[in-house]
């Protein structure tokens, strides 16, 4: 696997700005009075996941790694989803 020459770094500071903006958006959404609670929750989770994705892809460099490492990195996630969703059905079905 050829090494990647780091002539140009990813836009670390730009990502930082994006993260700060998204955080402020989250706080705005959380305390917004107008919308139903369900919608707020979905928006907040989506914003949090977006931030998490930015950290994973750019700071942890997953965007520039090979597929093998990427698959390894996301492997636990389906299990987490299965566990939480299966047990939630105990209470909401």
């Amino acid at each position: 696997m050829e090494p990647k020459p780091h002539a140009k770094h990813p836009p670390y500071v730009g990502i930082w700005v994006a993260l700060a903006v998204l955080t402020m958006l989250e706080i705005g959404v959380a305390f917004f009075q107008g919308w139903p609670k369900q919608l707020i929750i979905i928006l907040l989770v989506a914003l949090a996941l977006w931030k998490a994705l930015l950290v994973a892809l750019y700071y942890m460099h997953l965007r520039f790694e090979g597929n093998r490492l990427r698959i390894l990195a996301i492997a636990p996630l389906p299990l987490a989803v299965i566990l939480v969703i299966a047990v939630i059905t105990e209470y909401v079905w």
Partner: protein, 226 residues
């Protein structure tokens, strides 16, 4: 720039993950950390579906403004960390040390703010077991009056306290371990232990640090804002 043997997968071996051992090992370890936080965060989500009435509204008990600033600080520390990595990739020893030191300081600050927050909450009467009998919050809850921009506090917050302290506590523990490891890496950097050819330790601690930040990004949202 010449690419050094140690920052590549092992020399005499079949093709594996395509990255050097330490990096692969850290990603594998992070997989286990994902599952650990899944247990804690999953329990929280499940309990919240089971007993929604045991939670107060965002901001009623927890201090969102202070924690929002703390969140921003942790994100900054991720930036300083990745700048440290970028510096040593270029061979810039001075900036490596500067950015690593910054990361240590910000990380330690984050933990201190959290400890302060815990102390505040305990003082108000919010502990892992729920309300402290006779405390300010217990009285507010008992009185049934609307509180801090929301409805009355729940009668019992046992689940709220249990999940809040466990999730944030273990996250804080992980940050602390990260800060200690970071100090070790910083000291080694000051002794010239990393080069443009071999800075595995910096990359690997960076991965751990970003992971801890990532978990906090999730936690801040679902614990403080929902």
């Amino acid at each position: 720039m010449a690419h050094p043997a140690v920052m590549q997968p092992p020399a005499q071996a079949e093709p594996g993950a395509g990255v050097y051992n330490e990096k692969l090992g850290m990603w594998v370890f992070l997989g286990s950390e994902v599952m650990f936080f899944t247990a804690l965060i999953g329990a929280y989500i499940i309990l919240r579906f089971a007993q929604p009435g045991a939670w107060a509204l965002p901001g009623q008990i927890l201090n969102v403004p202070v924690t929002a600033v703390n969140t921003f600080l942790l994100i900054c520390s991720s930036v300083t960390m990745v700048k440290a990595f970028a510096a040593i990739q270029e061979g810039d020893q001075r900036m490596l040390r500067v950015w690593l030191l910054a990361t240590v300081i910000i990380g330690a600050t984050f933990v201190s703010v959290q400890v302060f927050e815990y102390m505040q909450l305990a003082h108000e009467g919010f502990l892992p077991g729920g309300y402290v009998a006779g405390s300010h919050l217990a009285e507010v809850a008992e009185s049934g009056v609307a509180y801090k921009g929301g409805p009355a506090l729940p009668e019992s917050v046992g689940l709220y306290g249990s999940t809040f302290y466990t999730m944030t506590g273990f996250h804080g523990f992980h940050v602390t371990m990260g800060v200690l490891s970071m100090i070790f890496v910083t000291v080694k950097a000051y002794r010239g232990g990393y080069t443009a050819q071999d800075h595995r330790g910096v990359e690997v601690i960076g991965l751990y640090w970003h992971f801890v930040d990532l978990v906090w990004i999730i936690l801040f949202t679902i614990v403080y804002l929902i």
